[in-house]
Amino acid sequence: MTTQNLRSMKRHQSGTIAAVTASGELGRRIRDMGLVPGTTITIQGRAPLKDPVALRVMGFTLTLRNNEADYIQVEVDN
């Protein structure tokens, strides 16, 4: 188990969210969509220009920009 930034995760890699450090509007938006500590995510893919990133969260697909993914730390399954 290693903690790494969401941005640096590879396609099809899974993990559990350890911390969300975003505050304000972005933080609220991220949490509303279920990205809170303890949630399991899988990287589903990236847009043609490698940004935004699409994740699988609790059975649905969510998209985030890379610079927003920077606020999310994930404990990655190896």
């Binding site: 509007e25 847009a47 220009l49 609790m58």
Partner: protein, 734 residues
């Protein structure tokens, strides 16, 4: 919320009206359920003061008319977006007897997050657990009775697409309204943890003691929203009693400090964590069971592997837009020709039965040509909207936003700007008015402003007939290709101008892009039909009212003032002289005189004078005075460009034979060549939005300054582009 009020409503005997709000996450099937419940008994309007669409309808059960209101789809009830504020305000101010919360069974955990927030508000809730069929197919088993018991609300499984469960849902809703009236509200008690709970309790007591905002809200909810740093409620609080706000702040300050120091977090984050914690505990109590292999790729994901693929995705996206054009033009060809035939027949009927004069001229040139020109394109618009509705309802448009966000960001916009652009006609055939309104989903004022100022550059349904006409007249062999190029050019223009605006008049940092990619779904026939019909009907209504009035007004300014008597007499003398001469080419010469008289009359009219006055300037872009008149009319509504050109040319022509289409006339008219058509297309694409759009822009941007800006800036920009192309093209000998 007002239990006694809802009870009173139920007691008013047969057909007493009870208001029920339908709420849920975006893509949970809420609109499908609403359509299944209300059928055609729908009314579409706006929430007061804002431009969020409000759909209402009714459902009759046991002599009760249930008044259903479709709230905008939201993930949460913060004051984050306008939709959330609208949904929240409706519940607080209109006090529906019940909220029917539509929950996507395939996505239970995230959907329950909204459910919890309704229950925190203390409003009676009944749940429709929708898409049970999809959940079953995915191997998701939900213990409905257990979940209902744990939450303390009625839950009805539904499959909205097939209308399954709607009767039991409405019965359960009515029962829940009665029960809420009988034993009062029953707010959910959940814990937000050892840090928050004591402060929340202390604040609630303080709020209750001072009756602070308690006329509309539960004290616990006010306290919770203050801890969540809710801007809207805070503003209301400041107006109601600033002292209490200061006291509440004092109670919260140590908590916020403590959380920051020990956990590096915020009260609102902890509250969200505990809400999700509560939901996970529900799941752990045996509510949810996943029987199928979790790692199995769903159909939607497999589709995305191709449709959102790095290389294949964008190519397919272009192919889809291209296909939409092929479909629209191929399918609408026959009905368009049929309608043209009908109006041609009407014209010849009037022509044959009425004596020459003002009335005949009004009917032929003002009404039949004007309205016929616009209505003739209804099939085109109908099929275009059908195609767009299909892409929207199937979930593909969200993929377009996902794939294009990186590109949009370069131009200072947002992935969600795509929706506003597409609604405005990014895939040709929308309307800038709803497009400007769609920009409301953008939170950042700067990206929103840039979006709503540039969406009018898109090819709306009203410009489409103008383009179709010109393309048909001058590029008949390459219609689809030309329309495709026109779309690309309008996008390029809009994006470059957006970049220009974002780096000059509206500069600033970007906003979050947190968006759901809904699973692909096969759109329902009813959904597509309602969607398509609403938009097409808007277009027809505009044609029947505004366009008719404008056609008549334009006919008037093109007819009056009439030629001075002595000039008219001069033409009469000429005619008499020709008739007397009995020359062999008498008919042709007579016609020539008529043509000159008609042209002189139009030039003499108010519109002719305006057009002629502008000709000195517009000649640089290749536009003559007739085109100028049409473009001035286009400010009222873009489709008027066609009807005005039609009127202008049929007035100036020898034989107003209605069956000759305007496209034919233009391609034969002197001064017209492909380059002129291209310049006119470019000018119509970029110049001032129609006045309805301008009014919307001014309202959405919050200032008439921006409305005026869009008229002036766009017209100058369009003229610049047209002049550049015309002059360059002329130099190259085109």
């Amino acid at each position: 919320m007002d239990a006694s009020g809802s009870q009173a409503a139920l007691n008013q005997g047969p057909f007493a009206q009870t208001t029920i709000a339908l709420a849920g996450n975006p893509n949970c099937g809420k609109t499908t359920l609403f359509n299944a419940l209300t059928g055609a008994r729908q009314h579409v309007g706006n929430y007061p003061g804002v431009t969020v669409e409000k759909k209402t309808g009714s459902y009759t059960l046991e002599n009760h008319r249930l008044h259903l209101v479709d709230l905008p789809g939201t993930y949460s009830l913060t004051a984050y977006s306008l939709e959330e504020v609208v949904a929240r305000d409706f519940i607080v101010k209109e006090r529906p007897a019940l909220v029917v919360n539509i929950v996507d069974a395939t996505n239970l955990e995230r959907n329950l997050y909204l459910t919890l927030q309704f229950m925190e508000m203390g409003v009676p809730v009944c749940m429709a657990l929708n898409m049970m069929d999809v959940a079953a197919a995915k191997g998701i088993e939900i213990d409905v009775a257990r979940l209902a018991n744990l939450l303390g609300i009625a839950i009805v499984p539904t499959v909205a697409r097939r209308g399954e469960g709607k009767e039991s849902l409405m019965q359960a809703a009515l029962d829940a309204v009665r029960q809420a009236g009988a034993d009062g509200r029953r707010p959910l008690e959940i814990t937000y943890g050892p840090d928050i709970d004591p402060v929340l309790k202390q604040m609630s007591a303080h709020i209750a003691a001072h009756r602070f905002l308690t006329a509309d809200h539960r004290p616990e909810w006010v306290a919770l929203k203050f801890l969540e740093n809710d801007e809207q409620l805070r503003c209301q609080g400041e107006m109601a009693d600033p002292d209490v706000v200061a006291e509440l702040d004092a109670m919260m300050a140590p908590l916020a400090r403590h959380l920051k120091q020990t956990l590096d977090t915020y009260p609102e984050a902890v509250i969200a964590d505990y809400r999700y914690g509560y939901i996970r505990s529900l799941m752990a109590k045996g509510v949810l069971r996943q029987t199928a292999d979790h790692s199995r790729l769903e159909i939607s994901d497999r589709l995305d592997q191709v449709l959102a693929h790095r290389f294949v995705g964008p190519l397919l996206m272009l192919a889809v837009i291209w296909g939409l054009y092929q479909f629209t033009f191929a399918v609408s060809e026959t009905p368009v020709a049929l309608l043209e035939g009908v109006f041609g027949w009407l014209g010849s009927l009037v022509d044959g039965h009425l004596a020459d004069g003002l009335l005949k001229s009004l009917l032929l040139s003002g009404i039949i040509d004007g309205v016929g020109g616009v209505l003739g394109f209804v099939p085109l618009i109908l099929f275009m909207f059908l195609g767009i509705a299909f892409l929207e309802d199937s979930g593909y448009l969200a993929r377009v936003a996902f794939m294009l966000d990186r590109v949009f960001r370069i131009f200072g916009l947002h992935g969600s700007s795509v929706m506003a652009f597409i609604v405005s006609g990014g895939i040709a055939g929308g309307c800038a008015v709803p497009g400007v309104m769609a920009s409301r989903t953008l939170k950042s004022p700067k990206e929103r402003l840039a979006t709503l100022l540039t969406v009018p550059f898109m090819n709306c349904g009203a410009k489409l007939p103008v383009f179709a006409l010109l393309v048909g007249a001058f590029f008949a062999a390459h219609q689809a290709l030309m329309m495709f190029l026109i779309t690309l050019v309008s996008w390029a223009g809009a994006l470059l101008v957006a970049r220009l605006l974002r780096s000059t008049v509206i500069s600033g940092p970007p906003t979050p892009f947190v968006m759901e990619l809904p699973p692909y779904r096969w759109p329902t026939f009813r959904g597509l039909a309602i969607h398509t019909w609403e938009r097409t009907w808007q277009y027809i209504r505009k044609a029947g009212t505004v366009i008719l009035a404008i056609s008549v007004v334009l006919w008037a300014i093109m007819t009056f003032p009439r030629l001075p008597a002595e000039v008219a007499q001069d033409y009469a003398h000429q005619r008499a002289a020709i008739t007397d001469s009995q020359a062999s080419d008498m008919a042709a010469t007579l016609a020539q005189v008529d043509f000159h008289e008609a042209e002189a009359a139009l030039r003499h009219s108010l519109a002719g004078r305006m057009g002629t006055a502008l000709e000195g300037l517009s000649r640089w872009a290749g536009f003559d005075w007739r085109t100028n008149i049409a473009l001035v009319g286009g400010f009222a509504a873009k489709e008027v460009v066609i009807s005005t050109l039609g009127t202008a040319y049929s007035l100036g022509e020898v034989d107003p034979e209605a069956s000759t289409s305007l496209a034919d006339r233009l391609s034969r008219a002197p001064g017209w060549r492909p380059l002129t058509a291209i310049c006119l297309i470019l000018f119509v694409m970029f110049y001032s939005p129609c006045f309805v759009s301008v009014v919307c822009i001014a309202r959405e941007a919050g200032s008439w300054r921006w409305g005026a800006f869009s008229i002036l800036f766009n017209t100058v920009f369009a003229f610049g582009v047209a002049v550049l192309v015309y002059q360059a093209g002329t130099l190259l000998g085109l």
